[in-house]
Amino acid sequence: MFKCKTSPEVGGMGHSVKRKEDARFLHGKGNYVDDVKLPGMLTMVMVRSPYAYAKIKSINKEKALAIPGVLAVITGNDLAQYNLHWMPTLLSDTQMVLPTDTVMHQSQEVCAVIATDRYIAVDGAEAVEVDYEPMQAIVDPFKALDEDAPLLRPDKEGQEDNQIYHWERGDRAKTDEVIANADVVVKERIYLPRIHVASIETCGCVASYDKDTQKLLVYLTTQAPHAIRTVVALVAGHVGLSEEKIRIISPDIGGGFGGKVPVYPAYVVAIAATFLIGKPVKWIEDRSENLVNGFARDYHMDCELAATKEGKIQAFKVSTLADHGYTDSSANPSKYPTGMFSICTGSYDYEHAFAELDAVYTNKAPGGVAYRCSFRVTEAVHAIERMVDKLAAEIDKDPALLRLENFIKKEQFPYDSPLGWSYDSGDYEATLHKAMEMIGYEDYKKEQAEKRKEGKLMGIGICTFTEVVGAGPSKDFDILGIAMFDSAEIRVHPTGKALARFGTKSQGQGHETTYAQILAEELGIPYTDIEIDEGDTDTAPYGLGTYASRSTPTAGAAAAIAARKLKDKGKKIAAHLLEVSEEDIEWEVGKYFVKGAPEKSKTIQDVAFAAYTNIPPGMEPGFEATHYYDPPNLTFPNGAYICVVEVEKETGAIDVKRFVAIDDCGNIINPMIVEGQVHGGLTQGIAPAMYEGIEYDDEGNVLNGTLMDYLVPTAVESPHWETGHTITPSPHHPLGAKGVAESPTVGAPPAIANAIIDALAPLGIKHLDIPITPAKVWEAIQAHS
């Protein structure tokens, strides 16, 4: 295990220090966007479409404007005067800010009502009269490419059908050939349903334009404030908003999970409104607006896995249909329309793979957010991990043994995967063995055999996943052309205390603590003496933000390297103070000393003071350093999860008896925070596995747009999570760390699905799509008995 180099007081890596940010959260003193109140602030509420697909014949503002306190109703035609009615998406598609003639999904923004208070604004929204001419919506993505399907995006030049793009990776011909000649081929169509991040805090903003200074200030619930500033400058530059005049402040965020990466139309309308009216405008999304707009997943994956009869995996092929809604607003790096989906070959060593994907338009909300997963890794892992289990069932082999026999061996790293990734490190066998020991795998296999004799349904499910996080190296990864580096800027004050600023933005990850711990590790300054600041584009260094488990791999690395720059400068100062040459100075945490004479030393605090008071001749004063870190590779956290369930045949009720999660995320900064991350992520993994999924009817109406029917699990639904670690440091990261937040969300669903399906195997049930609810289990049991 990891050995701490610092004392608990200094609190460097490996110490489970308490989170510095928690005092204000626990005392209700967090400052969220809805807490922001500016003088003269107005409220904006969106009128939304009741139809999934309709022509707008007219919008009558009169009755709304007659309500005292309603100041303006802004429509698409109003924005069109400034050419602000459309905006680009991150993946070069276009999205309506407000429609001028057609609505493309239920709950799409139709117009905005600006009023002096929210109650009045909602009354105003009710009073706006919109005359719609409903049209037959395309809801089923498999029908989007039918000959007679209506063309949903005639606005796009050259768009002749509803296909957005085709993507492929790997050698189709060779993969097909291996599959055609294999002893065993298992096939399945696996659907990962459309789900929603359902963060506790919904989206929102306060936009405030000052006509005198021409500065735009926007408080925004965004995971990527700097990128948003650039996007606003690019989208609204033509109306006079220039990047140096735009300030984005991302205050405390109540959960992001990818849902707070995109630019939502209402942000743009609020900015337009403050620009036109000259007063601050607040928009806070309500719960149903939040639940119905934006989504993750929604991949229909046709999978084929080929193996020898002994169970040696030979080839994997997956053809996916992706439902993107009416525009591709996926928040992916530019060159990766399907994100990191090509990680779908998994943790196994074989040569041949092919993945292809067709993305289509439908009359549903756009989204494609990477819900607590590094861009489509959840989909990829679900595909391979279900198929490996299906193969095990097909050849009647223990799924743990099958995995152990096919794993990439630890000596094979760095490992070049068939679809082009270079896995950095791992010891998959050790991780799975640890999980098997911890849960008592062999005992459960015996118990299962006994239970099956009694006709009882008990299942054991395994998932051994490989994640790919920390986007990313600038040669491959950019968003709107901006390379996906991240940054840290450290200022050590004369008294030896420090302020450090980052281009990322915590949404609950605990950056104020973990970044301070990284600096404590490197500099020996106690973590309690280091303030961490993020989220204000006027003060923080430029960075691409926090998502895809990238903060530790990128900004965390930047912090370590910036600290090392400081340490180098400090060495020169220490030599000056101790009157020896720089070569004679050695470092141990927090202190420089003379080689061979450890009693002659200067602390980092002494050195910081000297940097402002007793500077070596010719040296630049001050004790500050900045680093922009461009990672050489991504990091590949991995894990082995095992789940034991019992299913009641009569009712379909599912009881998760045990769940063991062994994660390998490299070196750990704060074990307690990692534990918390894993618990939260596992709960967000059981969510799609057993509860969540956005349901539509044939007209494109969302059937579960409230938390009464969109079933976000709680502590009551969560089993007792048992966690553990193996540690295989990343060889290329300065701290050997990898990122962890998303692993459990990625790894839990297949483990749970595999367990439930294993429980049902004696009945002849071979696959169920998630969410696997008791009702779905009951129906499957009826169909198989």
Partner: protein, 289 residues
């Protein structure tokens, strides 16, 4: 999630509340805990112009045995009932139900009277009331009246209460030797309305023969439903496993569920069958101890 405008009135007595409703007519609505009404108002499904808050009226929150009855004041919160010694000791059916109703923050405010007066077959208490053959006591413009539970539920959100009537008390038979009840519902997650729920109350004589039986079903019909056929089969008999099986089948046949996000009609019928049998067995076990 923002309600339409309304005027809030706080009543300090039943008479004052009734007078306020008479003054404001059809646009007035009583509110006790508000946990059924307020969500409907926030979604603007309900837009009453006057809210008459009766939650602060003194003297309507109590749980006591009196004569042959357990009497519960209508403003007694679900949490009051959850932790009441008398309920915990002798009325397990209420403990079963309350633990499964919504969540603690709702139960802290939601009242038993409101749960029944709302007239929603998805609420848990109506099935219990049917099983125990409760009497609903209400006060209106013509004074107090007693309404047998079988005459109380009229339709979706409709009850025997007149617009000015306030539900004041619930009366159920006092627990005695040989009586027992049980409730269970299947829910998708904590706090959910029932996919299906079943309440059973039995009274056995010394020979173990069923003297009284009540079976109420939750959320498998438009109006809270009594399983008449099952009760008729069991009453006056020694309840055997064969009879229980038969009643389970009757329950699945007689309930009127519809397919929705909670599951198909067939699934719900199957669930009703299973829970009915389990609750009869549990109620019997409790009656025999």
């Amino acid at each position: 999630m923002i309600p339409a405008n309304f005027i809030y009135h706080k009543a300090t007595s039943v008479k004052e509340a009734i007078a306020l409703v008479q003054t404001h007519g059809e646009e007035a609505k009583y509110m006790s805990g508000g946990h059924s009404l307020l969500p409907m108002m926030k979604l603007r499904f309900a837009t009453p112009e006057h809210i008459i808050d009766i939650s602060k009226i003194d003297g309507l929150s109590y749980i006591k045995e009196d004569g042959d009855f357990l009497k519960i004041g209508a403003l007694t919160t679900q949490t009051d009932m959850e932790y009441n010694a008398l309920i915990l000791d002798k009325y397990a059916i209420f403990s079963d139900a309350i633990k499964l109703t919504a969540d603690p923050s709702v139960r802290n405010v939601g009242t038993i009277g409101g749960n029944i007066a709302h007239g929603d077959a998805a609420n848990d208490q109506p099935a219990l009331m049917l099983a125990m053959r409760a009497t609903i006591v209400a006060e209106g413009t013509d004074g107090e009246k007693e309404i047998p539970i079988d005459e109380f539920f009229h339709g979706f959100y409709m009850t025997a209460l007149e617009p000015a009537d306030i539900l004041t008390e619930i009366r159920v038979p006092k627990a005695k030797k040989g009586s027992g009840g049980a409730y269970h519902k299947v829910e998708r997650k904590v706090g959910d309305y029932a996919t299906a729920g079943v309440a059973v109350h039995v009274e056995l004589d010394d020979m173990g023969v069923c003297q009284e039986i009540g079976i109420g079903l939750t959320n498998v019909s438009a109006v809270p439903m009594r399983l008449d056929r099952g009760e008729a089969l069991l009453k006056g008999k020694k309840i055997t496993e064969d009879l229980i099986e038969e009643v389970g089948t009757m329950a699945s046949e007689d309930c009127e569920p519809t397919s929705d996000l909670r599951g198909s009609e067939a699934y719900k019928r199957s669930i009703v069958n299973t829970i009915t049998k389990r609750m009869i067995r549990l109620a019997l076990e409790r009656a025999q101890h």
